[in-house]
Symmetry: C2
Subunit: 385 residues, 2 copies
Amino acid sequence: MRAIALPVNLILLGSTGSIGRQALDIARAHPDKVRVRALAAHSNVALMAQQIAEFSPDVVAMADAEAASALRQQVSCRVLSGSEGVVEVASFDPADCVITAMVGAAGLQPTLAAIRMGRRIGLANKETMVVAGDLIQSMARSHQADILPVDSEHSAIYQCLMGESGMGVGKLILTASGGPFRDRALHTFAHITLEEALDHPNWDMGPKITVDSATMMNKGLEVIEARWLFDVPPDSIEVVIHPQSIIHSMVEFVDGSSKAQLGPPDMKVPIQFAMSAPGRWASNHGVLDWGADRRLTFLPPDPERYPCLPLAWQALRMGEGAGAVLNAANEEAVSLFLARRIGFTDVAPLLEGALGSISSADCGSIEARLAVDAEARSWVRQHAG
Amino acid sequence: MRAIALPVNLILLGSTGSIGRQALDIARAHPDKVRVRALAAHSNVALMAQQIAEFSPDVVAMADAEAASALRQQVSCRVLSGSEGVVEVASFDPADCVITAMVGAAGLQPTLAAIRMGRRIGLANKETMVVAGDLIQSMARSHQADILPVDSEHSAIYQCLMGESGMGVGKLILTASGGPFRDRALHTFAHITLEEALDHPNWDMGPKITVDSATMMNKGLEVIEARWLFDVPPDSIEVVIHPQSIIHSMVEFVDGSSKAQLGPPDMKVPIQFAMSAPGRWASNHGVLDWGADRRLTFLPPDPERYPCLPLAWQALRMGEGAGAVLNAANEEAVSLFLARRIGFTDVAPLLEGALGSISSADCGSIEARLAVDAEARSWVRQHAG
């Protein structure tokens, strides 16, 4: 990874979402270190107008064309429109670091554009690596773009790998909170309500990710992401449940030594690290208080309780395109669950069905990945309920 | 740190002790990576003769002159004698790495000799840094000698600092098992027997270190060692009790992120890492099993239970020479306790008395350190019992 000379010229894709707002909190706290050059969001005009007033970017984009028109009435800054506008923002020059915090498949093309520019990518868009991690990594290598993960687990692993050689890595151990149903009686799972699934004990996140955390499909997607981010074989990735979410993930080395990265659950730490790395910027993000009694517990995930989780390794064994199938099927199934169209325990069988039914062989291009993505969504809709 | 081209030409000082024997286990397991060039020990002739037969070093030394004579009758290898012989072994050429595992003050001069040769030092002799850490570090800098700690706590910190910049370090957090008296009722401390003090729950070590673990003076000495090894101010070092001894120590960075190094208690991991760093060698040293339920607990150390511990920061505030006073007073007090001449609760007041009574100002040379060392020992003997 190349260090970035300060100030970091930042492009932020998804600036009105949770990760985007926290990235701007960091820019606000470190005006000497971060210069916001370009912003993109989906449709939140009011918040984007505020962000323009505060950070004076050179250019912004709204993915929603109507939102772009509305924004143009309010600001003098250059406003681009639609997905092409977002891609143009992602390619803005000059820039050092592009944080890709758009939700879902919308993040793919802008991320590719930023990689082509050889930027450092702060990757908060998990789907990108799940759908096309192999293609992204080979493109990043040829454009010398560094990819730094922004979610807490992969940032933890990235931090544990600093200064280490790849040959020393034995195993990546992703921690999972276990979600709201870690201790719930298995025979009551069929009665899980939407409200129960949306009540996460440790992290405050959007509804889609919160449901993924309850099914633990989020951890499965992170397993696939880790496989590509860190170039390790699937069997060298393990998941362990750690209810307190203090250890964010670990690396076990071939000599029997392990390293863990830890801290209170606070996304600002990995977001900032994606900009500051390999350095660190002093901040008032909560640190752990070792002056009080503390207990950290760990247990293996039960596949009966979390049937979505093993599907990650199954998809990795099936080949590169199966990640796209699994991710799309899951997005569709979760949106059906959020719409109260299917039950909580319907999610895993739908994903398994989609994985088994859709051929993802010969999926060597982004276009082919998007095709099986669409196929998987349609399969799930047809087979739901 | 500079990497060492394989095989590592190893000099092992203290080859018949616990650390030395484990270092040779590693050499035995990795004959392609470690070439034993020279050995030194105190007086165990039989074991040294075996080690010579197995590892064919170019030269050995016995600190005890009679032992050297006896050994010469048995082996054809070149055998040096006395402390000068040990220093000559420490300076043997060619060599890449010198592991200094001699016990106590005897390790100082050979360590200095190895530093003067610009070797990588695998430092298992804690006293060296406690007595003269400031002088050692400045000498290591001018001779470009890398010092890699071999005890588990400092190796943990060293591993957590790999790839990090010094400016990012906020705090070093040393973990301590809490020893055998962690949960014992305080009013019974006056009745602690030698046998009770020698019964350590997690680590199998020599009697002196085991008593230090019970008083927690070992952790105090490690605080002083960490201050010099990692060049951090004393107030940036913290101790936390962690009864399971799985997390071997941690670093907290200025951005709120922390890293920990962990594993089962096994000294082979830090010993091997001192040779392999920055790489890692595959080994069958036990790794952590995350497939079973696991619980890690942490609590702050109570100064009433561990009155020796705060003396470390007191010594660091008093100046560079006070570490030598504290270490020597402790060696003397522990040997009196091992000889049943004083009680367990007599140790801390003796150390505090020695620290308060012996002036360690103007202690800018090794010779001056050795002088206050002698003074502290004599003070403790006079004031004991």
